[in-house]
Amino acid sequence: MIIEILYLTLERFLGFLPILMVAIVVGKVFRLYISEDKIGILLKGERRSIMGASLLGLVTPGPLASYLPLLKVLQISGLPLSVVATFITSQTLVGPLRAFLEVNMFGLTFFIFRVAASFIIAISIGTCFHFLDKFVKPKIPLSGRRAHRK
């Protein structure tokens, strides 16, 4: 039984490994050309557009943690929290790397559905944040407000 499990594991692992490696390399290529600065510039242009932020998030490679400080600075500078929430949601739900694994394991239809669903989910969350902005908006620290006024 253990040998059968190990055999199945190796068979699957070696089957998925090339796809995983391609996904990682493609992700790095994306990351090289889609830097945090470029995302910041594009998001500034999408100041009022939840839809644009959702589309941008779908194609932005991870990890999200590297974009969060930039998002915070943009939010203090006036980017609506709804746009930030939309970008965070779509970026985490889908990413360029997941495409390879999902298409390989579950088919193209499943992946297309997940992208479409993630786009809609992100927009829905952004819309909710838009209406609940007063209740969820974080208080800008005094130093941030002074810097913003300058």
Binding site: I24, L32, L101, P138
Partner: protein, 138 residues
Amino acid sequence: MKKKAVYIFADSLKEMKTIIPAFFIATLIGATLEFYLPEEITFAVLGKTPFLSIPLATIIGIILPIPRYATYPIAFSLFQKGAGIGAIFALISGEVILGAPDRDILEFKYFGWKAFVLRLILCTALVTAGGFVAEVLL
């Protein structure tokens, strides 16, 4: 161009060192589940009743403490065993709602607990809804 290629290669190797072992372990877990988890149980819990399986799959995805991409081999094995496509959607999408400590802590710190909790609740509800739609359409 050469510098970029070297950078991509080196950075990819660095990431592979983290992801590949986790992916192997996840594949091993998936293979073990395929052998030991009876098909009837998988189907009964994650395939037969969408109203039970999809919310359950979302919650399992949220609480599963495994690195990103490691969900895929497990989801694949469950799918082979009879889990519904809606449950698989919920599991894969639920996995990203919580689970990356660096991201979650920063999000909490930068945008406040209210925004963090609201996004968590909305994501959970909408991913579950997405699972139902996937079950109907796919």
